[in-house]
Every structure is written in C-alpha cells, then in structure tokens.
C-alpha cells in the first residue's frame, strides 16, 4: 500500500492549507473565514493520511471539520454580519500580533535547525490494519496520564462555560 504521487499531493495539500489559512485571516465576512478554515482542516486531514495515519485523518474530519467548525458557523450565523462587517477590524493590536508571530516563527526555525536530532529521521510505518489499534494502545498505555489530564481540562472548560452561560439566581 504505497500512495500514488506523494510529492505532488504533499505540495498540493500544503498549498491548499496555506492559501485557505491566509484566506481565514484576510476575509472580512466571518462566514467565509470559517469556510476557509474548514478547507484548511480538511487538507490537514489529507496530510495526515499521507503520513499513514488513517485513524487520525478520520478523527480530524469528524471532530474538527465536521463538529467544532459547525458550532463555529452556528455562532457566526447568529451574528448580524452586515453590521459586523462595517465595524473596523484589526484594531490597534497589529504590533503585538506581529511580534507574537515572529517569535513563533523563530521558535519553529530554531527547532527545525537545532533540534532535528530529537526527531527520528524515518517515521515508523505502522501497518494500515493495525493503525487504529496502535493509536488506542498509545493513548491508553503509554500516554494515559497526559490523555486523562487533557480530558480533565476539557471537562473544566465545559463546566466553566455552563457556569458563565447560566442565568444568575438572585
């Protein structure tokens, strides 16, 4: 099971991801931004598939592209877009934003040039039939504690959202 034309698909999917990611931050209409973000997430799913991770691909599509983004769109659809578009976007934070993105980019470059030794030069190919099992093993044996901590964090976020959304009982 070798993928066909991996170089082409890698550059194609990366280009789609980058272009749609730029569209996310440049479109004025928030619905268009959300749609561009969906395209980004779907092309990322394609990239996961090229890394022999079919399970992660499926979960990426179901949870991010199909679940969370629907909720995003749900909220945006309730906003009065005509008025929101007239308001000035990108208020005076662009200097802070620039610094933050430069720092992040610097971090990525530093990791790429200095820390290459940390990553294995060749990724281990898990046979496709075993992929889902392997992910399950990793989550519930090797990384059980981080996994549970992450789910606890999400639970806290949910409880917090409910508390903030609840009407005050006077």
């Amino acid at each position: 099971m070798t993928p066909i034309a991996p170089t082409f698909f890698f550059y194609f999917l990366s280009a789609v991801a980058l272009i749609s990611a730029i569209l996310v931050i440049t479109r004025k209409n928030p619905v268009h931004s959300a749609l561009a973000l969906i395209v980004t997430l779907l092309s990322l799913a394609g990239l996961y598939l090229m890394l022999y991770a079919p399970f992660v691909t499926g979960v990426q599509v179901i949870v991010y592209a199909g679940g969370i983004m629907v909720l995003f769109l749900f909220v945006i659809m309730l906003v009065n877009i005509e008025r929101a578009m007239k308001e000035e976007e990108f208020n005076k934070q662009w200097i802070a934003g620039l610094i933050a993105s430069l720092l992040l980019g610097g971090l990525f470059l530093a990791v790429y040039f200095k820390g290459r030794a940390i990553f294995p030069s060749e990724f281990t190919k898990i046979p496709e039939q075993m992929n889902t099992q392997q992910v399950g093993m990793l989550i519930f044996q090797n990384y059980l504690l981080p996994f549970e901590i992450a789910s606890l964090l999400l639970l806290v976020a949910i409880v917090g959202a409910v508390v903030m959304a609840k009407k005050k009982l006077s």
């Binding site: 779907l42 599509v61 629907v70 659809m77 992929n131």
Partner: protein, 350 residues
C-alpha cells in the same frame, strides 16, 4: 491501491464501471423510494397515491424529474450567491460519495477476475462515512444562512444543532459493534457476522446483544436524515420549508435527492452493521451464488426504507426542546452505557 490480483488498468476500468452502476442504481433507488413513500403513505392515509402516470403510477418519478428540470430556476435577490449555489451541490455530492464505501456483497468472478462488489474498501470505512455525513451538515447550514431569509436561517440553525447532537449518539451506538467485530472495515464487520447458532439463529450483531445499539442507531439515523419524527429543520407548519424555502427547480431537487440517498445509505449501513449485511442462504448454480447475497442485502435495505416510510406515516413531529433533551438526556447516556457494558463483557470473555 487494493488491486489484489488485478492489473492497474483493469482495476481502473472495473472501478469506473462499478461507480457508474452504483450511481445509477442509487439514483434509481432514490427515485423509486419517493414513489414508494407516496404510495405507502397514501395507503396509510386511505388514499391511492400516484396512479396517473404509467401502471401503478410507476413512471411518476420520471414525470417529477422532468418537471424539476423544466421549472424556472430562480435565484432570489439578496442571497449570498456563491454559497447559495454551493450548498445544494455540497449536500448532494456528499450523500453520493458516502455510498462508495458500502459493500453490496462479496467479490464475484467475472472473466477470471476477482472483483469486489464495492467501489472501495478501506480499513477506516466507517470513520470516513461518519466524516462525510458530518461534512454534509454544511450543505444544510449554508443553505439556511446564504438564503438570507428568516425561515431558512432558522431551519439551517436547527438542522446543524440537531445533526451535531445526534451524531454523537450515532457514533457511540456504533462503538459496541466495533468492539465486537474488532475492525472499522465494513467488509470485515459483515465477515464477523457469518454463521448461525443452533443452525437457525443467525450470528448478527443485533442478536449478539447490540439491540440497544440498534435502537439508538435507528433513532439517531432518522434525526440525521431529517426524517419524521425528527424533521424539525423543515417543519412546514412553523418554518414554511426550513432551509430550502428559497430554493426552486433542480437546486431544490438536489436537496431532495440528497435526503433520499442519505436514507438509502443509512439503510445500507444498518443492514451491514446490525443485520449481517449480505449473509443468507446461498444455493443453486454459480450465477445464483453471485446474485443471492446481493438480493439478501437489497431485501434488508428495502425493509429499512419501508420502516422509514411507515414511521413517517404514523408518528407526529417532536417539539424542538423534546428533540434536544431526547438526544442529550436519553440517547447519549444509553449509548455510553451500551459501550461500557459491551466492553466489559468482551473484556471478561477474552
């Protein structure tokens, strides 16, 4: 590429032929599901249903199709044009793509080649189908928003909220089956259900203790396909026609076809996951060996579609708050309990 013993060229040609056949059968099935629905609901309500076009009204789908094509296709002013046109395309294409992962039977031998009766088999087929259905929500949500009309927007909002809620229960209801079969591949799931107990009780998942999961799946699937009693997104007494209020002609027909082909896909999945797919008695000459499994499969699908229509003719519509609390307070805990009990039993047995 799962080419098996085929060369690449034969694989591509066989795939194209299979795609053409499957799409043709699916679209015909969609057209005649509409006919069947009008007939059955008609008889339930003491009417005849369509009788004028052809014998028993059998040519009615053709007449409907022609009418859809020749209707004026008007785009209302003030719609968001790009999304307005994209939405029905998205809804229909996603529901057609989902069928490509459904196996209709084992492989057949044609001219010495072993051709699987399925457009494509992957190890995560079930996940892909869930992903495609979750993308299909955008067709409905965007149709509602881009129409720039209050009825459409409310319909779209309801649809996206409903589909998200029921998708959770739907996904969890499948986990029990997956634990029992140990694979995501639909082909593998059917393989795991072959054989019988005591010679007459088939080893279907529904008899392996997954009947609660089956019940949850059916409920959630009705909600996912926006069918009565969960057709809140297009409740005509409140919302005119919900998200497709502003659509006419073929664009409306695309939503219509998407809904019915989703019904067919859901029925196929239910047969595969819970009722043993194409398993059944096979006898007679080799040609029957090839065709009988497909027949058994089609019979199950037809049964599910009939139940769909039966339910539509019988039940009234939920209220919206009932719909939501039913999903989150009843189906979801039940599905989680089912997963835990199944996992426990499987763990104790092994």
């Amino acid at each position: 590429m799962p080419t098996g013993n085929l060369s690449v060229t034969t694989f591509v040609i066989a795939s194209i032929i299979k795609i053409a056949i499957v799409l043709w059968v699916l679209l015909t099935a969609v057209a005649y599901t509409v006919w069947l629905e009008r007939k059955v609901v008609g008889h339930i309500q003491n009417r005849w249903g369509p009788t004028r076009v052809g014998p028993f009204g059998l040519l009615q789908p053709l007449a409907d199709g022609l009418k859809f094509i020749f209707k004026e296709d008007l785009t209302p002013p003030y719609v968001h044009k790009f999304l307005y046109i994209l939405a029905p395309m998205l809804a229909l294409s996603m529901s057609l793509i989902a069928i490509c992962l459904i196996p209709f039977g084992n492989s057949v031998n044609i001219a010495g080649m072993n051709i699987p009766l399925q457009i494509t088999d992957t190890n995560i087929a079930l996940l892909i189908i869930l992903g495609i259905t979750s993308i299909a929500v955008y067709g409905v949500a965007l149709a509602g928003w881009s129409s720039n009309s209050k009825y459409s927007l409310l319909g779209g909002l309801r649809a996206s909220a409903q589909m998200i809620s029921y998708e959770v229960a739907l996904g969890l209801s499948l986990v029990g089956v997956l634990i029992l079969c140990g694979t995501f591949s639909l082909h593998g799931i059917v393989e795991a259900q072959t054989g019988t107990w005591f010679g007459f009780i088939p080893k279907w998942n529904i008899f392996k203790g997954q009947f609660i999961a089956f019940f949850i799946y059916i409920m959630a699937a009705y909600a996912e396909t926006n069918r009565i009693p969960f057709d809140l997104p297009e409740a005509e007494t409140e919302l005119v026609a919900g998200y497709h209020t502003e659509y006419s002609s073929m664009k409306f027909a695309m939503f219509f076809m998407a809904e019915y082909s989703n019904m067919v896909t859901v029925a196929c999945l239910a047969s595969i996951l819970f009722l043993g797919g194409w398993t059944g008695p096979v006898f007679g000459p080799p040609i029957l060996h090839a065709l009988l499994p497909i027949f058994w499969f089609a019979l199950r699908v037809l049964f599910f579609i009939f139940v769909y229509i039966w339910v539509r003719g019988t039940l009234p519509r939920f209220r919206y708050d009932q719909l939501m609390s039913f999903a989150w307070k009843f189906l979801l805990p039940l599905a989680i309990a089912n997963v835990m009990i199944t996992a426990l039993v499987v763990a104790l047995r092994s």
